[in-house]
């Protein structure tokens, strides 16, 4: 579950947390594109190091490192597959370039995961929901998102209560073979699902009673305005994009192994 730890929100306020999620998301997309543009390890190392000041400024180092650890398993798998492919297709030989290429592919994966991780670590669900509301996405989707997030802790508690209730009727979740253990989840899942359906019905009633659908032009209590930090990040992001495209088009990126 440590990968998910990197994606959870933390209530720490830093300059990064206060940045507009839309700008942050644009930054993440640009990192994504830049990572795809390069198969060489040097630029990818650069992109990876670029995350670090953000992580430090946002003071989310611990969570970020945890998500790195979580990604490590998949990363080593990617590395292994790449090495193996190169090994077998090049006639049972490995060159330094091959190793470098595999490392680059692995690093690309890590950069992608980590940039999303930083995004989610530094953006509260409220903020994200608000950003969604202020884009052209239909309000229903933003609403579905925020409501879902709002009910996650409620559902988690309910799942625990249901498990307790069924254990109190003699259900032993750990006993039995693999198949039996899966069947043991039925008495927990069904009440949870039924409860979720009932809850949705009640929510729908409450929504209707508070004039849902009254006006096509829905207003908002809050307004997301772009501040100086946002404009700065926007500028940085555009520079990164421009620079990456420029380098990709006009330069040959050197390999690291050249220097050894």
């Amino acid at each position: 579950m440590s990968v998910f730890d990197g994606l959870k929100f933390r209530r720490v306020y830093s300059p990064i947390h206060n940045l507009d999620p839309r700008v942050k998301f644009f930054y993440v997309i640009v990192i994504f594109v830049a990572a795809i543009l390069f198969s060489e390890i040097l630029p990818l190392i650069g992109l990876f190091l670029l995350q670090i000041p953000f992580v430090l400024l946002a003071r989310v180092q611990k969570q970020w490192l945890r998500s790195l650890r979580g990604a490590a398993f998949l990363a080593s798998f990617i590395f292994a597959v790449n090495i193996a492919t190169k090994f077998f297709t090049a006639g049972y030989m490995l060159t330094a370039i091959d190793v470098e290429f595999s490392a680059a592919m692995t690093l690309r994966f890590v950069v992608l995961v980590e940039s999303f991780s930083v995004f989610f670590l530094t953006t509260s669900p409220d903020h994200l929901g608000l950003a969604l509301e202020q884009t052209r996405i239909p309000y229903e989707f933003a609403f579905a998102f925020t409501t879902a997030v709002r009910f996650v802790p409620v559902l988690a508690e309910e799942a625990q209560t249901i498990m307790d209730a069924q254990k109190a009727r003699g259900l032993e979740m750990e006993k039995g073979n693999f198949l039996k253990r899966i069947r043991n989840y039925v008495p927990v899942l069904i009440p949870l699902i039924v409860s979720a359906i009932r809850r949705s019905l009640e929510l729908a009633e409450a929504m209707e009673s508070r004039a849902w659908g009254a006006s096509k032009k829905r207003t908002n209590l809050y307004a997301l305005k772009l501040g100086r930090g946002d404009l700065a990040l926007l500028a940085i992001t555009i520079c990164i994009l421009a620079f990456s495209i420029y380098v990709r088009l006009y330069f040959v990126v050197p390999n690291l192994s050249q220097f050894f």
């Binding site: 254990k167 109190a168 009727r169 409860s195």
Partner: protein, 274 residues
């Protein structure tokens, strides 16, 4: 039957819910546990069937330390009825719902059949035997949950907030039912806010506040003591409220039953006429 010695318990977020609770509940007793939200009532009763184990101190059920045995084993003797029946109902028919625990406990098929018949009859649910529990009304679902617990005939019944959302008639029926179970020798523990209900039940009362027990005694002494009740943010039952104000006129203070109240007032009026 239930012994608690200096139990302490903290949840994972380091909130200490029980700060040294000690109590003994004998076989066949009827106890009501009351207190504000967060006082630790539900935490305490979850120790009785092993759902929670104390971090310090011991909880013993029939002499057995709850840390040395499984929840399923404890559940065989301690029937726990949760507040919301919808947290338990999942079967296609009421019959299967009742059979669930019986199967878990390893009862034989013929015994299961008999027990289902008995439980359905006891709770007036025989006509719903093959009905889906989800199609029943709120009150009926509560009865199904209760039936499914009684079916395995536990020695003790623990009810967490059984009166929530019930109208007066339903509460009366529940109260009579509890009394019936008690006369059959079962130990009954209820956790509730409902002072009027506890007043009518006339049980032993345990008051909790912030993780400890602050009072333990007969309902007629505890429910008529405004200071002790105020500490756990509980309001006096109406009859007790009335007699608390009339105590300056020489009337007794420890009255909680309306019929007793009537008698006392009539007597007082007679005396005044003489």
């Amino acid at each position: 039957m239930i012994e608690v010695e200096d139990a302490h318990f903290s949840y994972s977020n380091r909130v200490e819910a029980l700060k040294g609770v000690s109590l003994t509940i004998k076989d066949g007793e009827f106890v009501s546990i009351m207190g504000q939200n967060g006082a630790g009532k539900t935490t305490l009763i979850k120790h009785f069937n092993g759902l929670l184990k104390p971090s310090q101190g011991i909880v013993r059920i029939d002499g057995v330390d709850t840390r040395k045995t499984s929840i399923a084993t404890l559940a065989r003797n301690i029937g726990f009825v949760f507040q919301n029946p919808d947290h338990q109902l999942f079967s296609e028919t009421v019959e299967e719902e009742i059979a669930f625990a019986l199967k878990n406990f390893g009862f034989e098929t013929e015994v299961i059949e008999k027990r289902i018949d008995w439980a359905l009859n006891l709770l007036g649910l025989t006509q719903y035997r093959k009905t889906s529990p989800f199609l029943l009304s709120g009150g009926e679902r509560k009865r199904v949950a209760l039936a499914s617990v009684l079916a395995w005939d536990p020695k003790a019944l623990i009810l967490d907030e059984p009166t929530i959302g019930q109208d007066y008639q339903q509460k009366e029926k529940l109260r009579q039912f509890i009394v019936q179970m008690q006369t059959q020798g079962k130990t009954i523990v209820i956790v509730t806010h409902d002072v009027e209900f506890v007043a009518e039940c006339n049980s032993r009362v345990l008051l909790m506040k912030e993780g400890i027990i602050i009072a333990d005694g007969e309902s007629r002494e505890i429910l008529t003591d405004p200071e002790v009740l105020a500490q756990s943010s509980i309001v006096l039952p109406q009859i007790a409220q009335i007699f608390a104000r009339l105590s300056s006129l020489g009337l007794p203070k420890d009255v909680i039953d309306v019929y007793e109240a009537k008698k006392i007032i009539l007597e007082a009026l007679e005396k005044r006429r003489e």
